[in-house]
């Protein structure tokens, strides 16, 4: 699902064997990969494409669609003055994805936040605890089936 005008794009080209979808909207490039290949993808993005900085990791809940969650990585290249978005879709039951802390150490807190608020488990994370909510909190507040008011489900 790579549009023709993106075939020649260097970012898409470097990841051509693992890209599942790509789009260029609002002046921003989004590359989608399977959750299993996220470590390879970001490793190449950092090493080959020179995106030195991981700006943020965010979760998006597409409830009730399946795969339910999106894990969105925003990257920035200071040398090229460009930004890139890498996305992986994770299923709603037993959502899990490999942690990218080994590639970008700054992912640490962002992944903890995404785990805390969405319940997406980051495998091999060095410190997989909640970060915003209390340790004994039940549920994950930013899920779409979690109410805005009230204490529990």
């Amino acid at each position: 699902m790579i549009p023709e005008d993106l075939q020649a794009n260097p970012e898409v080209g470097a990841l051509s064997d693992i890209v599942t979808a790509a789009k260029f909207e609002f002046g921003e490039l989004t590359i989608e990969v399977a959750p299993e290949s996220i470590l390879i993808a970001l490793g190449r993005v950092k090493r080959d494409l020179k995106y030195e900085r991981l700006t943020s990791v965010a979760g998006v809940d597409r409830f009730p669609a399946e795969p339910r969650f999106e894990v969105v990585y925003h990257l920035q290249s200071i040398a090229k003055k460009s930004r890139l978005r890498v996305k992986a879709r994770v299923p709603g039951t037993n959502p899990r994805i490999e942690s990218v802390v080994t590639v970008y150490r700054g992912a640490d807190w962002y992944e903890r936040e995404t785990f805390d608020l969405f319940g997406i488990v980051f495998l091999n994370h060095p410190d997989p605890r909640r970060i915003m909510m209390p340790e004994d909190w039940e549920g994950h507040p930013l899920r779409k089936d979690y109410p805005v008011t009230g204490m529990r489900y």
Binding site: S56, V72, K81, G106, I131, M132, P134, L142
Partner: protein, 413 residues
């Protein structure tokens, strides 16, 4: 060690101590809880410090005490209502946050904001930078022990807050930038108020510098303190004056200009020393540069409308609303049901006083944002604290923390 009788036996204490010495290879360490209510953390940050004497072996920041679920609340509010929430994220830089939120929504809507609104946004965003840097300088100096700087800084800050009040009616929670332009047209007589301020401000910065820059106590407490390598900072997600203090010329205003920043002439100060003192000099220079930008905005302020011409999105003029039926209908529809934003996702970055604030906005085509992720600069900066203070002395922690200039509301959201 407590035995069955409830009395601590000295033998057991001795044994426990022996075991402890064996575990820690003879080093006696102590865990000190700094915060969550420590005055120098400016908010509620808890730092767990493992100490060997006065040296910090390990530091572990604990955040989340100010978590208010703002990201969840965005999803329950209309697009235009979300602006008020952004004020409350980083309460020292409300207008930078208004700006990044409005810009993100405007990109999704494809709205073109008229020049007057863009220039006013630049001017007030720079006032926000001054406001934030003044609070930072005053409190940072107090933390280190220089009391009087605070009073001087707050003298100027008060005038800035009065200017904010003049424009928006609010001193701190301004919500002045709205999707499509400004909430109100700039007030009558603002030019004189702003001119009076910019004319004296440079000499006021000289005053602060006179108090601190060559002050031997100040330099003794800040020079060579709080070093962290540039690679570590980039890796941990640090942005803003911290990076510029390490010699990297990075500024979103220059790299990806927004709101017509490309029309302004200003420099991005950098230094090589990469310590608390360098960060102080950077911020002082940034204040001078912000003043330059405000002067340019004052002189070259374009005329025209303060809002985009987008009837279904921007609230109609009050006078029109009372005389024209269409305007009344639009007003009613915007207030009661909001406006639809085309589906899509954008990441908008803005240079806030603390670094890069990013707003990742996902729209599903309805009147409410589907998801807003707030990339607060303080969150990324705070992550690097252990790297910065491990191996240093506990007395330098206060200076090192202060040089980061974080706001806990921005960290915890």
């Amino acid at each position: 060690m407590v035995n069955e009788t409830g009395i601590t036996s000295s033998i057991e204490v001795e044994e426990d101590y022996e075991r402890h010495l064996k575990d820690t290879k003879g080093v006696r360490t102590m865990v000190l809880n700094m915060g969550p209510q420590h005055p120098s953390t400016h908010g509620v940050l808890r730092l767990l410090l493992e100490l060997d004497g006065e040296e910090i072996l390990k530091a572990a920041p604990e955040i989340g005490y100010l978590h208010t679920g703002i990201e969840k609340e965005f999803e329950a509010k209309l697009y235009q209502q979300g602006v008020t929430l952004t004020d409350r994220i980083d309460y020292l830089a409300p207008l930078s946050n208004n700006l990044v939120y409005s810009l993100a929504a405007e990109r999704l809507l494809g709205l073109e904001v008229p020049p007057l609104a863009q220039w006013t946004r630049v001017m007030l965003a720079e006032f926000t930078r001054l406001n934030s840097h003044l609070v930072w300088l005053g409190t940072h100096a107090i933390d280190i022990g220089a009391m009087s700087v605070f009073l001087y800084c707050f003298r100027e800050r008060e005038e800035i807050l009065r200017i904010f009040e003049m424009f928006s009616g609010q001193r701190m929670m301004t919500s002045y930038f709205r999707i499509g332009g400004l909430a109100l047209p700039p007030p009558r007589g603002w030019q004189k108020r702003v001119k009076d301020f910019v004319d004296v401000f440079d000499s006021r910065v000289d005053e602060y510098e006179e108090l601190l820059t060559n002050n031997r106590i100040w330099t003794g407490r800040t020079k060579g303190i709080g070093y962290i390598s540039l690679e570590d900072m980039l890796d941990m997600g640090v942005t803003g004056p911290m990076l510029r203090g390490a010699g990297l010329e990075i500024d979103v205003r220059k790299d990806a200009p927004y709101s017509s920043y490309e029309k302004f002439d200003f420099k991005v100060p950098t230094r090589k020393e990469n310590d608390v003192y360098a960060r102080y000099l950077i911020r002082v220079e940034e204040m001078r540069q912000s003043n330059r930008i405000i002067k340019q905005a004052l002189e070259g302020m374009p005329s025209g409308s303060h809002q985009a011409d987008a009837p279904g999105i921007v609230l109609p003029d009050r006078e029109k609303m009372k005389t024209q039926m269409e305007a009344l209908i639009y007003h009613f529809k915007i207030v009661t049901e909001g406006f639809r934003v085309p589906a899509g996702e954008v990441y908008q970055a803005v240079e806030s006083p603390r670094g890069e604030v990013g707003c990742y906005m996902v729209s599903d085509g309805t009147q409410k944002p589907y998801r807003v992720h707030w990339r607060g600069p303080s969150f990324g900066n705070l992550q690097a604290i252990p790297r910065m203070i491990e191996g240093t002395l506990i007395a330098d922690v206060i200076a090192a923390l202060g040089s980061m200039d974080f706001v806990l509301g921005d960290t915890d959201r």
